[in-house]
């Protein structure tokens, strides 16, 4: 193990313009496909992953464990010569997943890397066979967006035997870094929870009842977004009580039906913390149906999708903590550096921004 993180990554801003243009095209397509046709994302330099959109590493949060290929096992490679397999976890009906897949595809195209993809449509046994299929088809590097953090034994046994590097994005695989997988790239979910708590405290002036719409059980995102939120509320706002916690499975329908139950059982609820935007938007629909108006219930969500940021402008959502899904550039940089024998940090944490009434209108173009 090396003490210093030597993972050499050029700042994402210095990425060639071509990528930016490719990403811009996708984003424009996505933006125009949105229900509320907004003007295309990006601004001045015509870029897609503009400064406001590209993922930026948080050096401080990353930790100092690194992984190099001779520790992990396996052969060095030149990324442009190998097949990369990408396994997406959930159906691309959620803007986060759409943007994530497009970012990976755009980066592969930009670098001229052969990419094979699969989507498990939220079926975990299917994701296991998907990844095994990717390996059968000759994938020598795997980028995985895991549906569940546990249950990867069959895949890990196989990749360890063959020395195939795994890069996990957005959710983690539970295992030993540099043995079961090379690196995890994602947000600091506990910090997202803490920042959501700060926004909730601000909205409620430290006094009131709050409900949590939990994400899907069994993965680190839900767990850490909950822990961070509760930790901050407990430490900073003894006047705020968490009265309700139920899973909306990270879906809009889930968020809506759970919120419908919530307002029936507790009409006086002051705030809702939705662990992703889709559930938050579902909550808005439910509150509207129950006769509430914008601002009656302070909603704080996590993700930074365009739909949610627009609800800030409309006054329904108080704040959105970003969770940036544009993993392509960082994932391929890590894969390239690892293949050429460099040390790669095993925990690459990105910085996330936030939207509230003060910047929503100006920065809605950065949302996805």
């Amino acid at each position: 193990m090396n003490d210093t993180p030597e993972y050499a990554h050029p700042s994402p801003r210095s990425r060639p313009r071509l990528l930016t243009v490719a990403a811009a095209c996708t984003l424009v397509l996505l933006a125009t496909a949105c229900a509320r046709g907004e003007e295309p994302a990006g601004g001045g330099d015509g870029g897609g992953d503009t400064e406001g959109q590209a993922q930026v590493l948080d050096e401080a949060a990353a930790g100092d464990q690194t992984c190099a290929i001779d520790q992990y096992g396996g052969q060095g490679y030149d990324l442009s010569d190998v097949k990369v397999g990408f396994s997406q976890s959930e159906a691309e009906s959620n803007p986060f997943r759409i943007t994530e897949t497009e970012s990976i595809k755009a980066e592969a195209q930009e670098r001229g890397v052969e990419l094979i993809t699969s989507n498990a449509q939220s079926d975990f046994s299917r994701q296991i066979t998907d990844v095994q299929d990717l390996i059968s088809q000759g994938a020598e590097v795997l980028i995985i967006a895991p549906l569940n953090s546990d249950g990867w034994k069959p895949v890990l046994d196989e990749t360890r035997e063959r020395g195939i590097p795994i890069i996990t994005v957005d959710r983690a695989i539970n295992g030993t870094a540099c043995e079961d997988f090379v690196t995890f790239i994602g947000s600091d979910f506990a910090e997202q929870g803490r920042r959501a708590a700060d926004k909730t405290i601000e909205a409620l002036d430290g006094e009131g009842e709050v409900a949590i719409l939990l994400g899907t059980a069994g993965n680190n995102v839900t767990t850490q977004r909950t822990e961070g939120f509760k930790e901050r509320i407990g430490a900073e706002a003894p006047g705020i009580e968490i009265v309700f916690e139920q899973s909306g499975d990270f879906t809009r329908e889930g968020g809506q039906s759970v919120t419908e139950q919530l307002v029936q059982s507790d009409p006086g609820i002051d705030a809702i913390y939705a662990q992703n935007d889709e559930m938050g938007i579902g909550a808005v629909t439910a509150l509207e149906g129950a006769g509430k108006g914008p601002g009656d219930v302070a909603i704080v969500t996590v993700d930074g999708t365009r739909g949610a940021v627009e609800y800030i402008i409309d006054g329904w959502i108080h704040a959105v903590i970003e969770s940036n899904p544009r993993f392509g550039p960082l994932a391929f940089e890590a894969a390239e550096a690892f293949g050429s024998g460099e040390e790669v940090g095993t925990n690459l944490i990105i910085t996330d921004r936030e939207y509230d009434a003060s910047n929503a209108e100006a920065e809605v173009g950065d949302a996805y």
Binding site: Q121, Q132, N148, G151, A217
Partner: protein
């Protein structure tokens, strides 16, 4: 009797055609590693579908197997801290009991299988969430559990042990359904319950037994799956039962009961999984098409069944319910 042949072996014929086509057209499909992955990945669904075949042959349905499968996995992973025997026994006892309860309510209280097993589907889901504390706790199978190498092992380095178990279970299931008196009772109950009762078939006992068997099969599949994955994954559940039913029907078993065979079910399961594998291998095809293709297979098979069982068609060898009034010009 080619119609009967198609009814019996339709899934197998299509499976063979798909395998040949994929083997010719796709690199890496006919490799031992890929075939073993497909077979092992199919084996858990196969065990569930085996129990489902017996249920459907009696003219019933078991909607609870998906969540019972998930519950068994969580229970097995939880119990594995007390050793392999506990990891096997706890889920089998619980899931067997759920199956027996289904059977008792359907056979003795005369309730509709659809409603009873829908209720136990929800009940098992609740139980699973309770054991895993709303899914926030994932129980892990400890390293060094004696069962783990048994499940992960490969015969001659090629054939995964779950596949061997499936072969043994299906052979036993085939003998029981096709060659024993009890198997004849199962067909008789599905063919015509009243006549079966008049002939002295213990209708209630047979029904209770098939639902218990189905619960046990789902429990065994969940247990094996948990050991295979190394943890009690909580996000399984609703949906698996439909896949099992689809596999049984594609395998040639009639949903109306009285007719079917376990070998067809095995072919049906493999067909679903091979299609998934092939679609993954064909670059550029969205995986959403897997559902489309599975759905198409289902429609085609049910249409074929309808056509084959029309009045005047060569009747399948086993009884499968009273024939309708004679029609002419049927498709």
């Amino acid at each position: 009797m080619w119609r009967d042949l198609f009814q019996r072996h339709g899934a197998l014929i299509v499976l063979a055609a798909v395998v040949v086509a994929a083997g010719a057209g796709l690199d890496g499909f006919l490799t031992a590693g890929n075939l073993d992955n497909v077979a092992v990945g199919a084996s858990f669904l196969a065990v569930i579908a085996l129990g489902m075949t017996f249920v459907i042959v009696t003219g019933g349905i078991d909607l609870s197997v998906g969540t019972v499968f998930a519950l068994a996995g969580v229970l097995a992973a939880w119990a594995s801290q007390y050793g392999s025997a506990a990891a096997l026994l706890v889920p089998l006892v619980v899931c067997g009991a759920i199956g027996a309860l289904n059977g008792a309510l359907i056979a003795r209280a005369g309730l509709a299988p659809f409603i009873v097993t829908l209720a136990s589907m929800l009940g098992s889901l609740g139980l699973m969430l309770a054991v895993s504390r709303e899914g926030t706790v994932t129980h892990l199978v400890p390293d060094g559990l004696a069962l783990t190498p048994l499940v992960h092992g490969r015969l001659l380095g090629l054939v995964g042990h779950p596949v061997l178990l499936v072969v043994v279970l299906f052979a036993a299931g085939g003998v029981v359904l096709g060659r024993t008196r009890w198997g004849q009772y199962v067909y008789a109950v599905g063919g015509n319950e009243q006549s079966a009762a008049l002939m002295g078939v213990p209708v209630g006992g047979v029904k209770a037994a098939v639902y218990t068997l189905s619960g046990l099969c789902a429990g065994l599949a969940g247990t094996l799956n948990a050991v295979w994955l190394g943890s009690g994954v909580t996000i399984f559940g609703i949906g698996t039962e439909l896949e099992a039913i689809a596999a049984v029907v594609i395998g040639g078993t009639l949903l109306t009961g009285g007719y079917g065979f376990v070998a067809g079910t095995l072919a049906g399961v493999l067909l679903l999984k091979v299609v998934q594998n092939v679609i993954n291998a064909v670059g550029g095809l969205s995986s959403a098409y897997q559902e489309v293709v599975s759905g198409l297979f289902l429609v085609v098979v049910v249409l074929a069944q309808k056509w084959l069982s029309r009045p005047g068609a060569a009747a399948p060898t086993a009884p499968h319910g009273p024939s309708g009034p004679a029609r002419t010009g049927a498709p």
